[in-house]
Symmetry: C4
Subunit: 194 residues, 4 copies
Amino acid sequence: MTKNRLEAFSDGVLAIIITIMVLELRAPQGVEIGALKPLLPVFLSYVLSFLYLGIYWNNHHHLLHTVHHVSGGILWANLYLLFWLSLFPFATAWIGENHIAPTPTAVYGFILLMAAMAYYILQRAIIAKQGRASLLAAAIGSDWKGKISPVLYLAAIPLSFVHPWIGHGLYVFVALLWLIPDRRIERALANREA
Amino acid sequence: MTKNRLEAFSDGVLAIIITIMVLELRAPQGVEIGALKPLLPVFLSYVLSFLYLGIYWNNHHHLLHTVHHVSGGILWANLYLLFWLSLFPFATAWIGENHIAPTPTAVYGFILLMAAMAYYILQRAIIAKQGRASLLAAAIGSDWKGKISPVLYLAAIPLSFVHPWIGHGLYVFVALLWLIPDRRIERALANREA
Amino acid sequence: MTKNRLEAFSDGVLAIIITIMVLELRAPQGVEIGALKPLLPVFLSYVLSFLYLGIYWNNHHHLLHTVHHVSGGILWANLYLLFWLSLFPFATAWIGENHIAPTPTAVYGFILLMAAMAYYILQRAIIAKQGRASLLAAAIGSDWKGKISPVLYLAAIPLSFVHPWIGHGLYVFVALLWLIPDRRIERALANREA
Amino acid sequence: MTKNRLEAFSDGVLAIIITIMVLELRAPQGVEIGALKPLLPVFLSYVLSFLYLGIYWNNHHHLLHTVHHVSGGILWANLYLLFWLSLFPFATAWIGENHIAPTPTAVYGFILLMAAMAYYILQRAIIAKQGRASLLAAAIGSDWKGKISPVLYLAAIPLSFVHPWIGHGLYVFVALLWLIPDRRIERALANREA
């Protein structure tokens, strides 16, 4: 039951974050199709952040699936993750309004990096509670995606000052990497049931 | 349990989408009854979108009722549907502020079309998981509503440039068509229990 | 399960309605305590609407408690109620910004009236599903509160044009009337269990 | 079930409160890193309020854990708590925009004080329902945190007029005090199960 409430609260926060970003997509003044053109970067940054939040929701969902007892540490690690995710609407609005500017692109990468680290902390808090021999520890295994993502975000920060499109390219690349759902946990669960 | 979280997240997103649209209904400056008059198109477009989101929630509710196991494909098909539904507040604001303009009316139809296609993809993802002989596949049957709606949205896009009222008329017509709740699934469920 | 989702969606919509009203309470420019003074009517109208939405949530909670099977009619009656409740933030903002103006006060009363009628329709839809001998039908009994409230809202509409404070006085009076939680259903449930 | 809905509604309201505060963090006009500097006080006040709402969610979660039957008194005490918490976005925006001003700092302390008192009332309402020998009454025990917090908020109100940083210092101090999760209830539950 404790876990249900953690999931419900996380779902609520994620649902609100994902939805309030759309408030940034303001109806244009004009009524011609051309009036939508200046909204294109806002729309594209919305799509990117929607993807990232969808990935986080999806992985969070799998991650919590392995949890039975929620400790205080897990509660706070989860809130810490939600904190960094709650900054997505801000960063999305900033890159959307100034798409090819280096600093907003780098700041977006910084928030992605902090969220990835918060997710890692949450994983550790769950494994610490379950013990090293836990299902989650086995499922994660070498976790190359979880290891390469922060490296790419970290690289994107300075590279955004070389050219912002390098940063955006890296963010899209990592998102596509994760879009393939995390079958490791599903497989480990299936193996155990077998 | 997995399914519960999918429903809870979808309910959260739909509840927020349906409610933030009302933020567009800003309190007028004047205090006379006439001050409400310029709000009328905003109000009517709110009513139309509220109806559509109510219909989607209603049908989504019936659709998920038939699901037992949630695959990665279903998760992402569901997020893809929520993405297009999340653009309703934008499109609603645009038609509300410029009610009889052709382009906003056509763009509204485009978003309705994409949402209808996303709903279709979600149906297919569920049937793919359950097999062709599934309860849902039987319940949907010929699905004339699901087939005629996208055709009417598609027709509404060019016809909005002939006259925007044709587009609006078609949107209202399709909404009324769906307002009659989808008893096919209810009936198939009842038959099986019998 | 069907009922759970109806409750979850209603809770989500009510939670959002109740919370977005606070966005109208904008931080003032000044930093003196006097800077809060112009916010007082906005604050008071927020308190009034918070009370009303709390009452609706509370009564909705008791009402749904008696439901076992959710029909299409109940789903749509519930959405119709949520529609009128979703107009509270608009009406609250309008009276908050122009507290003693007659028309906004009357419009607030109109929305209260429509919500009360929608609640009545929802009650009827539930009783229609359960049959006249249902627990809810017995619990509601003579329902003097449910009968007197719309009459008082209806009276408040023209009386707001005599003086807006009469309207506000009536709204506060009805809210206080309902603040006493609806023990009728609780009692009927307790009697049955005994 | 009744309790589930109380938790779900509270989670919804808390999730929305915590998330709409981020709307105050508006994307700056400039695209240089210096453009973020004026946002720093807004960001810090967001962090502080996020912490407080996280603490309230966490403690609320533990508090409700001990409840089996929800009375009308508990419902209304809970709504009263949510009311004061719903004023956090307002107070956060006011201190964020004028960080070192005395009055906003004092008003923030006043809202913290009222929320703390509302939480105390909710505790009492639950104990009143369960009886003095209840699990919660035992778990709370001397409750030094719950007693010292309102005293510190009360002190912070006049001291904010001496210097606003004293107020902010006290708010941060109390938040850190609570960040250590409330193990009293966890321990009492564990003892009982043993």
